[in-house]
Symmetry: C2
Subunit: 207 residues, 2 copies
């Protein structure tokens, strides 16, 4: 059942989660798909379709229980694990990710930063002292890091992935524009910031 | 016909485009869906399905004409427009985007940077002098900017969007974690860096 959730649905779940969390904080207990759709600019039909993928929710004419739905989405996405992140490569992009506020709202926390540049090692970014890549294994273990984020240049990305896996991370988020080889048991997500920009270009061309 | 292309397909097109462009440069003229799939870690069935969405391509048992397919994808995504970008908010994220190499490979170019912080205005990032937000209209016009990229804090994002639209940009790419109100004729893409991370969390939870 779980395996059949589409990538597009998975990509919308964090948006639902974040909105539901804000509602819970403002003591809203019940939400309709119409209202959730209005807040997120997604059609109510799409929302109902997404949510029925993983079971029956909500009561006809009443709506969804905010807390129940939020907890269920958290469970599906695995957010209750409160994954701990290490960023490898503290250049512009690594620095931006170290300061990115949206991670915390989904339960992620950046606990380690690593670089090989002696000018960067030892400096503090968002309260975290940058460690040396040569000490990766020890730092990953000490800080109980779950996820390695790769923001090094493409030429160093495979070596970085190999080192992260040797240091026992459980998953890799790769920003380097290169296809990485990792074992089947290590989930890997490749990020490409220009995909959103291409989608925008597509929509602009339709005008 | 064009309107029926799914978001997931649109998101894969830049990957196809980039791979085809590299092939063209290395003088590969014909590519099979098997080979394209192997390079991108996407199933050949998915690739064939994506490509048939916008017409008949390729010859059974032979493959796709690299250049023809590349040009067609460029045309669908509107990449031949060589859109010109302005980044508003030159903090960590804006600075990272100003230095992001993948944009150029899709024909985009960053031509203007804007900030309101007097310590940042006048400095150079990746060869571009940061202008003052108060001069936005003039700079957007002088530099013939098509797309405004919003990397200011959430509290300033709507004002920034309004100013960009008043300055006649044709599309907006928003990184601020807030729902923006823009006119229907201005395409808007919202980017949330934590979506990829949530997808990774999902896959790690399935293990």
């Amino acid at each position: 059942m779980k395996k059949s959730i589409s990538q597009a649905t998975i990509d919308r779940l964090p948006l639902y989660f974040r909105t539901l969390r804000l509602m819970e904080e403002t003591e809203i207990n019940i939400i309709s798909s119409d209202e959730l759709g209005r807040r997120l600019d997604i059609t109510p039909e799409q929302i109902r379709k997404d949510l029925t993928t993983f079971g029956q929710f909500g009561k006809k004419g009443i709506g969804y229980d905010v807390r129940e739905l939020k907890d269920r989405i958290s469970n599906i996405l695995g957010l209750q694990n409160h994954w701990r992140l290490a960023i490898v490569g503290v250049g512009h992009l690594g620095g931006a990710l170290a300061n990115y506020v949206n991670f915390a709202s989904l339960g992620f926390s950046v606990v380690a930063l690593l670089d090989k540049n002696p000018k960067i090692v030892g400096t503090k970014v968002n309260g975290i002292t940058v460690g040396n890549i040569s000490d990766m294994k020890e730092i990953i273990s000490d800080k109980a890091v779950d996820i390695g984020i790769i923001t090094v240049p493409a030429t160093e990305a495979q070596d970085t992935a190999d080192a992260l896996i040797a240091a026992n991370v459980k998953g890799i988020w790769n920003f380097a524009p290169i296809k990485l080889n990792v074992p089947d048991n290590i989930p890997l997500v490749n990020e490409d910031l220009s995909i959103g920009l291409s989608a925008l270009s597509y929509h602009m061309s339709q005008n």
